[in-house]
């Protein structure tokens, strides 16, 4: 069970986020759900890179080669995406603010009615 549990948790987070995204009645809430979806990818990446008994791949206080290390490549991927993802969230929120300005609502259903 332990060998797949982290992957299943990542899948669960992703599905829950998708559910929220599809059923949301408020665009700001939908952006929040997208953040949840995104965090699923970090969990998956770091779970793939983990090694039992491994330690962090940082040698500032560790003799090189003295202990097994977890995979640094997936960590680098997740780390940049955390920060870049936040700026993309900001872009989406800016779009929502514009939608609210132009149409006076942030409910996706009302917005599609407006389009007619």
């Amino acid at each position: 069970m332990m060998s797949v549990l982290p992957y299943l948790v990542a899948a669960w987070i992703f599905l829950v986020g998708c559910y929220g995204l599809a059923t949301s009645r408020n665009l700001i809430h939908a952006v929040g759900c997208l953040v949840v979806c995104q965090s699923a990818t970090y969990v998956l990446l770091l779970a793939v890179g983990y090694r039992d008994g491994g330690t962090a791949p940082v040698h500032s206080d560790l003799e090189p080669g003295s202990r097994p290390l977890v995979d640094p490549v997936v960590q680098a991927l997740a780390l940049t995406d955390v920060v870049v993802g936040a700026t993309v969230t900001a872009l989406l929120l800016a779009l929502v603010v514009q939608v609210a300005k132009r149409h006076g609502t942030v409910d996706p259903d009302e917005l599609s009615e407006l389009r007619g």
Binding site: R51, D52, S60, Q75, V83, T87, A94
Partner: protein, 255 residues
């Protein structure tokens, strides 16, 4: 589409996706397994280039080109946000009222501000040695400035935060990354190859060749990007209101 039908389509899609994901999970290598071919090679490469923090080495040396792409996404997202949140002609700027802040909040926020700022700069500067780097430290340093909004009020924050300047710093950070990469080309090797500077002594501040330079460029860019982003949202939330700007001169910070 009716709400009911939509619910069914969603349930079908999520069910199918969930089944596929579970099937994929069962086929992945076991959690905590021993085989990490890329990780082992990355660690060897980082050690051969005297970079103590392997994650920074991957970001700013082994996969620096990938980081350039990430950085460009960040830059584009900030640019888009600034354009979307600028003051339009049918909006006016109102001066935010000075806020009353309870003395204890003010005291602790004013103590925390310099501390947080120093922590942020430390995290950027030691990116090649200990956990941290430009991405994390940049965010910490930028959020530190905004403690002034909590401690005093928005006008105080605005005074220490000329947005144009930060926008320029943001662009300069992006440009510096490309320039360092191109300098390697002039040195006769590939774009962004870490051949420009000596690798230095392992586990000292000046180790890792161009890793500290690229790290600092990213730190600049991320810190400036966060300040510019928050400035856009704060202006919208605090200052900018509906209605034409008749009669009321705008202070001109955002035009």
């Amino acid at each position: 589409m009716s709400r009911r039908l939509r619910g069914w389509v969603l349930a079908l899609g999520l069910g199918g996706l969930g089944a596929l994901l579970v099937a994929a999970c069962l086929d992945l290598p076991d959690f905590g397994g021993e085989r990490h071919p890329y990780g082992d090679r990355a660690v060897r490469a980082a050690l051969s280039r005297h970079t103590a923090n392997v994650v920074s080495s991957v970001n700013f040396d082994l996969r620096a080109f990938d980081t350039l792409g990430e950085e460009s996404i960040l830059f584009g997202a900030v640019l888009g946000t600034v354009v979307l949140l600028r003051q339009t002609r049918d909006e006016r700027q109102v001066e935010p009222a000075p806020a009353r802040v309870s003395p204890s909040v003010r005291r602790y926020a004013l103590i925390a501000l310099p501390l947080t700022l120093v922590v942020g700069l430390y995290v950027v500067a030691h990116g090649q040695l200990s956990p941290g780097g430009g991405f994390q430290g940049g965010v910490v340093a930028a959020t530190a400035l905004h403690l002034l909004y909590i401690a005093v009020d928005y006008r105080a924050l605005r005074r220490i935060r000329p947005v144009h300047l930060y926008a320029v710093v943001d662009a300069a950070g992006e440009a510096a990354f490309v320039v360092v990469g191109a300098a390697a080309l002039l040195g006769g090797s590939a774009f962004l190859a870490n051949t420009l500077l000596p690798y230095g002594e392992f586990n000292t501040l000046a180790s890792g060749g161009t890793v500290p330079l690229l790290n600092a460029a990213i730190g600049m860019e991320v810190a400036a990007a966060v300040v510019v982003l928050l400035a856009g949202f704060l202006d919208q939330a605090v200052e900018i209101e509906d209605g034409p700007s008749a009669g009321r001169p705008t202070t001109g910070t955002r035009e």
